[in-house]
């Protein structure tokens, strides 16, 4: 393990964080609020970051293992220090609450411990949203740099292979691909701000809600989320951007380079659309047949159904209605969407549609193997064969995912809330969705949980966001041996 490198990168991370804190500082000055929470935070963060990033001279070699461990470490550092403005603002009960809130933002989860967000100063609200926007950007690069390819795409985007030395193989490609991803991300951001403003949302609200949409985070500055605006136009705009941002960004790369035929050939893209359409249809039918949306037209019911399924499947977590009051069947559909999540290579969380496809195809392979023992059936994604090692890792990922949910439930259940609350809070944290059901429903928040549960759920968010393996490596003693 290259410790000096780790320290230097940590230092640079902190400097980046203190630079990022300048933006909410300016916002708080603009709105004539106290800038002190940000000033204090910047001072603390730079005081630690500066010496680390300039004094330490690392060795040059840099392996995949360090990449994984760093990924976990950077995320933790951001959360630990990004919580400081919240802490200094005095609006949070204790540091654990601040940590939960910023972890929820950075991991683009969107869960909150605040019972009333509308009393917060604008600077703090801006930092909540902006940090989740940064988190979404981080996820894109992270996906690119550290996660194994989900399949063999024809283009290089997202083909980053985590096994093997990183320095020689990855960096040039990553830098190039990151730029494209950032550009798409920023283009979406700009487009949504303009659309929301045109639909009548105030400027400040447009910016923070755009930040919260494109990162599929879902932290709103209103207690009743998007329902506050009561505007179909706003809801439709946000629905579109939630869906766009939970699609694999490689798809947009294909669109830009005019390879539309490749887009139509993407199985993950189609599977995502089919699942979303099916879920919306089921929820719409269920709501209509049970008469749960009394006084609403069919079109309104359809809009709310689509908004909510898109919000949950994209793991954003915005709401226009209290789906806690929906019939059990619709809620079960939402729970399944929470588990599945969006596409790989997007800012969405969850298991990811690509993994679901691979796991489903593994069933076909295994059944065929029983019927024809000597058959060799290759599992494919996007038309290319997927390596056995990737399939193995996807299977292991799924197992850890489910185990992480149940083990977390065990800790959270100590608080004594209903199984529905405990289970959906955990699922919504690991999948980076945000709201769950019952006590953590869309109009509610995570404030009722104990500090232990909050800290555990915050870690779950990070584990889910980093897709588990970096955290396992961070915890594995053999990662920390000097080789």
């Amino acid at each position: 393990m290259n410790y000096k490198l780790m320290l230097r990168v940590s230092g640079r991370t902190l400097l980046l964080l203190s630079a990022a804190l300048l933006l909410p500082l300016l916002v708080s000055l603009y709105y004539k609020e106290s800038p002190l929470p940000f000033v204090y935070a910047i001072l603390v963060v730079s005081a630690i970051g500066l010496p680390l990033s300039f004094l330490v001279r690392p060795e040059k070699q840099f392996f995949a293992q360090e990449g994984f461990v760093l990924a976990g470490g950077i995320w933790l550092l951001f959360c630990l220090f990004g919580a400081l403005p919240f802490y200094f603002s005095g609006f949070f009960e204790n540091y654990i609450n601040c940590f939960f809130e910023i972890a929820s933002a950075f991991t683009t989860t969107g869960a909150s411990v605040l019972t009333d967000v509308e009393v917060l100063p604008r600077g703090i609200l801006f930092w909540r949203s902006f940090s989740s926007w940064m988190g979404g950007m981080g996820v894109l690069v992270f996906t690119l740099a550290f996660l194994p390819a989900m399949g063999g795409r024809t283009h290089n985007l997202l083909r980053a292979e985590a096994t093997g030395p990183v320095a020689s193989k990855l960096v040039p490609k990553t830098a190039q691909s990151s730029k494209i991803l950032y550009m798409i991300y920023i283009a979406f951001t700009g487009a949504e701000v303009v659309c929301l403003r045109l639909a009548g949302m105030p400027w400040f609200d447009s910016w923070v809600h755009t930040f919260a949409t494109v990162c599929t985070g879902g932290l709103s500055i209103k207690n009743v989320s998007i329902g506050y605006y009561n505007s179909p136009a706003i809801e439709i705009i946000i629905t579109i951007f939630m869906i766009l941002c939970s699609i694999n960004f490689a798809i947009f790369f294909l669109v830009i380079t005019r390879r539309l035929r490749d887009v139509l050939r993407s199985d993950e893209f189609w599977a995502f659309l089919i699942i979303l359409a099916a879920a919306t249809g089921l929820v719409f039918l269920n709501l209509t047949l049970t008469g749960s949306m009394e006084g609403q037209s069919s079109l309104d019911t359809l809009r709310h159904s689509l908004f909510q399924t898109a919000s949950i499947m994209s793991t954003t977590g915005f709401s226009t209605v209290d789906f806690n009051l929906w019939p059990e069947f619709s809620k079960m559909v939402l729970i399944m969407l929470m588990l599945i999540g969006g596409c790989a290579g997007s800012t969405a969380g969850g298991l990811k549609v690509a993994r679901l496809l691979l796991l489903l195809r593994c069933i076909g392979r295994d059944v065929k193997k029983i019927i024809h023992p000597r058959s060799v059936k290759v599992v494919t994604l996007e038309g290319k064969a997927v390596e056995d090692s990737t399939l193995r890792r996807v299977s292991t990922f799924f197992f850890i995912y489910v185990m992480a949910i149940f083990l977390t439930c065990l800790i959270v259940s100590l608080d004594g809330f209903s199984f529905t609350t405990t289970f959906t809070a955990t699922l919504a944290s690991v999948s980076n969705v945000g709201p769950g059901l019952d006590l953590v429903g869309p109009l509610s928040n995570y404030s009722a949980f104990s500090d232990l549960s909050k800290a555990t759920l915050a870690l779950c968010m990070i584990i889910g966001r980093l897709e588990i393996f970096p955290i396992l490596l961070l915890l594995s003693p053999s990662s920390w041996k000097r080789s």
Copy 2:
């Protein structure tokens, strides 16, 4: 597909079923009850079974695929026709209820649709318990004959390999090993009957509860299950036999052949004991610290904790207290035990401890692979390397298991019961446990569900019992092609 063979085996299965029905017929005659439900059932079953088993002359060749399909088919036949005495008895609302009850018995689940079992005639009660005892026996042979080896044990027991032609490779070994398993099973049955009788349980009750224990089924003839007897001696005896019958039966084979050192080396055995002890400890501590067992001594609390964890982990489902009223943490421990289940090669259901161990070891392998990309870490069980194909199937199994639970939840949620009810009812069905939480708690039953839910849950029990793959093959169109 060898259709003629399938028909002949189906016929023989039905004849075996009608022979088995003679026993409850005798019981009903002995207690001077109406024997008609059994007479009618025997007539119907033989009328279909006789011509099939004597008129059809099959080809001799017989492959693994047919074995799997047959396994699924036999189980379904037993349930479809074994439900007849219930139907003719008039104590059940409709045929779906009868099908649910017998599926629950045969699959050793132990869930019931009856709100009051104590009004049933003894013949019917006997058939409920005896059919679950037969189911337990069926599972043992099934495990032996059709399931892939969970690892490379040194002895031949349980090494049956499902891939490859069955006739030549398996039958002689299976027949031999089955005999040993049956002898152990019958010895346990005899021992428990005697113990329960000595502890003061009436003869009839001793027999039916023994049947329900050794198969880890858990169908009681009392509405409040074992709590009815209010006898620590009876509870301890049943606890011991529940634990014994959820241990891999190969362990007893080792004990008989005095290879105790091999017993001590079995990782599944140890893992099972450790999980059970840890769960009991956690539940005991939780109950004690929350004061949930007021008026009970520590020893009583410990006894109830052990009884309940053993009952759930062994997937029996007996109860001495209403654990529905326990604190959330204890209930969460029970939910996790439902998921895990007992050892492979026992009558217990669930995921199985051996699979859990393999899945956990896959994590270690995958993490090591990231740190040392060129490392080849072999996953072992019981000291022997496990083949990649087995690991793949275990991973796929886990995925289907979880998916089956969520898809079933989707159907059951149409009934509109709480998420806790829906989820635990489904989990308790797939894992063959029986009681869940909330509306399907230990003192409750499955009568509130719609026919659709009951039929779905009954199929879930069969899917869980047969460990999924035979059912997938039964459903796979390519199984039914003539080769």
